[in-house]
């Protein structure tokens, strides 16, 4: 009788997409213990892996599945002079350590100079190795990016990197589920970056803690794959370890023809088509957003939740009812050197950064180049264009986008994380202010004392032309 009751419940209550993927990857379940989850793909880079490989060596353990593991160099590599040895000896040691570890343990690596070198979350999708229904991890919080394909992708720490290398599994507590429904259609000049910045401002940087978010609704379905990646990428900025979008024809078309697309594509698609949230499934929380009302969004503070539409003014901390938010806003305005009441569009920018795992893909570069074509950036600022991968760079050059950027007065760099986290020489100086297509506006994120405003590629390009935060409509 008990068995029947369980079965009945199983059939009556449908599953969310996240629950389906989870269930398909449970290696072992035991009362009072976390589920042991199988990992389909492990992405590796130089910064969060050396101590993990060391751990394996100390214990005499091999990498269990080198054929489900792939490495690239992205976080601290230079974006100029990549044919020369890395100038910073500490950075060089870290990159050399990754290369040596991959050679020792038989892990595939895409090093500087290789066309598949680049930001790890750009590389996986461009190889077609990110596919629906997978579990994907990386020692990087923006692994949520891969959720755009209907994969469960999430960031892990170095201890977990070692765990996955040794066992191809992770013990994990099952997350709760949140639906974010975005209905309607975006106005011209409004992008998926604005959707996600608006979501973070709405639910806060802790709003998604403990949840996997599924982005749903007509505005999400209308997005290209690359725009979907931008949304899922910043799930972590809302506190959620993973963000998902159900795969559809847009997803299948994107994967088709990529180097690692399934050989039996039809069999894969047949499975991928089962990856959706059942109509009778229940989310733990639902949030609604109207795409029709969205405007270009920009952050004014020092966490990604401190954002507003571009036509707003810098908020007055006194207007925040919540003490914690008021204190945070006061501190943020001091750090950012801003005065309450200043129109955001009056804020002068010193550096525009176009790139990162959030907005460093070919569509992002095309959108910005479209605005810059035949024009010059303001003489008061510099603009760095850093393609997400060497392949994106080659593609852009084949389309002549590099010439557009260079003619406009921007710098055309090689691939890497670059100024998103200021780990390589691409950094803001003290007090310098950026409009950045990246994902974090934390204090000092792009360089000690640097001030960051997060924007879309369209706003980045318009800002580069006008010198102050601007949308394409202002041109």
């Amino acid at each position: 009788m008990t068995i029947w009751a369980e079965k009945k419940e199983h059939y009556i209550v449908g599953k969310t997409l996240a629950e389906k993927i989870w269930a398909e990857h449970v290696v072992r379940q035991a009362d009072g213990e976390p589920d042991l989850i199988y990992i389909d793909l492990h992405l590796i880079h130089e910064v969060t892996s050396p101590q993990a490989f060391d751990g394996l060596r100390l214990a005499g353990r091999p990498v269990r599945r080198p054929d489900l593991t792939i490495a690239t160099e992205d976080h601290n590599v230079p974006t100029i002079d990549i044919d020369k040895p890395i100038a910073d000896p500490v950075s060089k040691l870290q990159v050399d350590t990754l290369r040596a570890n991959c050679a020792e343990f038989g892990v595939r690596i895409h090093s500087l100079g290789d066309k598949d070198q680049g930001v790890v979350h750009v590389v996986g999708p461009q190889l077609g190795i990110t596919q629906p229904g997978m579990t994907i991890v990386c020692g990087d919080s923006h692994t949520s990016t891969h959720g755009a394909f209907g994969a469960l992708g999430f960031g892990i720490g170095t201890s977990e990197v070692e765990h996955v290398l040794a066992t191809q599994t992770l013990p994990l507590q099952r997350p709760k589920t949140m639906a974010i429904n975005v209905e309607g259609s975006l106005k011209p000049g409004v992008t998926s970056k604005d959707i996600i910045l608006a979501i973070i401002a709405k639910i806060g940087t802790g709003g998604g803690q403990g949840y996997v978010i599924e982005y749903r609704g007509s505005a999400i379905r209308a997005l290209s794959m690359e725009s979907r990646m931008t949304v899922c990428n910043m799930s972590i900025e809302a506190g959620a370890r993973a963000g998902l979008i159900a795969p559809d024809e847009t997803t299948f078309d994107y994967i088709k023809g990529k180097p690692h697309a399934p050989e039996d594509f039809d069999a894969a698609v047949a499975y991928w088509k089962t990856l959706f949230t059942d109509s009778d499934a229940k989310f733990d929380v639902e949030v609604n957003l109207n795409a029709d009302e969205l405007e270009p969004f920009v952050t004014w503070g020092t966490n990604p939740g401190q954002g507003l539409p571009l036509n707003a003014v810098v908020p007055n901390p006194a207007d925040f009812a919540d003490t914690e938010q008021r204190t945070a806003a006061e501190r943020a305005l001091v750090y950012m050197g801003l005065e309450a009441g200043t129109p955001l569009k009056k804020i002068a920018i010193d550096t525009v950064f176009l790139g990162s795992c959030t907005n460093g893909r070919i569509e992002d570069l095309r959108a910005a180049a479209d605005i810059l074509k035949g024009k010059k950036i303001a003489s008061s600022l510099r603009m760095l264009v850093v393609p997400g991968s060497a392949r994106v760079r080659l593609e852009a050059e084949a389309e002549g986008l590099d010439k557009v950027f260079l003619a406009a007065g921007a710098e055309w760099r090689n691939a890497g994380c670059s100024m998103c986290l200021g780990m390589n020489p691409d950094q803001l100086a003290v007090g310098e202010r950026s409009a950045s297509t990246s994902n974090r506006n934390f204090e000092g994120r792009q360089g000690k004392g640097g001030r960051t405003h997060l924007v879309s590629p369209l706003v980045a390009a318009a800002t580069a032309l006008r010198g102050t935060l601007s949308s394409p409509a202002d041109l």
Binding site: V27, R28, G32, P34, L36, Y38, D40, L41, P50, Q51, D54, G55, R61, D67, H75, N76, D88, V90, L93, Q94, R108, D116, G128, I129, Q131, M134, G139, D140, S141, F154, I156, G157, T158, S159, E160, H163, T167, T169, P171, Q173, T205, G206, Q209, G210, G239, H260, P262, D264, A267, Y271, N303, E324, A328, R331, L421, F442, E443, G444, R445, G449
Partner: protein
């Protein structure tokens, strides 16, 4: 991993919310390939300020960090945990932690404890009036106590057991190798592989 059963020490009030891992340790300090030596990078930017709490002699030897809400947001860098541990912290108390940071801390034996914001503020007030207040964190009884207070905190049984035994997660999982083997036998053939290389 060192066993964690009970710790008694003094507290450090960090009156900030949304302390992201870039603040705990900026990216430029992440280039080391070892697990030690990260204490120099801990709160690097804030430590330039003589008023910053860790620069105040009264709080210099604290081992229990008492922070504002949403501690450890942002980057997944486990270096944030190592930096806190290398500096000498054994426990972090906050009303909310970011998921990845909390996971990393509990893997590495840095105990992260969730208390209500009102209790965090009460502890801040106590530390402000007497920085030498002795705080005891007892994982066995799941309580934080100081003065006349004894505050219960929640932690799942499995994690508590693992911390109290000082067990290596990987060793535990490797005992399940048979389950992993049989799971792999049933994986679909169309799941992608990174090798051999296709380009």
């Amino acid at each position: 991993m060192e066993k964690f059963i009970k710790h008694t020490g003094t507290g450090v009030p960090l009156r900030r919310s949304n302390v992201d891992t870039d603040q705990i340790i900026p990216a430029v300090y992440l280039k080391r390939v070892t697990r030690s030596g990260f204490e120099d990078g801990l709160f690097a930017a804030w430590r330039n300020d003589p008023e910053f709490v860790l620069n105040q002699p009264a709080f210099k030897n604290g081992t229990i960090l008492v922070a504002g809400a949403d501690f450890g947001t942002g980057s997944s860098r486990e270096h944030a945990v190592w930096a806190l541990q290398n500096y000498g912290f054994k426990v972090v108390i906050s009303s909310r932690f970011a998921d990845i940071f909390r996971g990393n801390s509990l893997k590495g034996g840095l105990l992260t404890i969730i208390l209500d914001q009102s209790e965090v503020e009460a502890l801040w007030a106590t530390l402000d009036s007497d920085p030498t207040t002795s705080i005891t964190v007892d994982l066995e009884t799941r309580t934080v106590s100081y003065g006349s207070k004894s505050l219960p905190f929640a932690i799942d049984d499995y994690t508590r057991w693992r911390l109290m035994e000082g067990l290596d997660d990987i060793g535990l999982t490797l005992k399940q190798t048979d389950s992993i083997d049989s799971f792999e036998k049933n994986r679909a053939a169309y799941k992608p592989k990174t090798l051999p290389v296709r380009s």
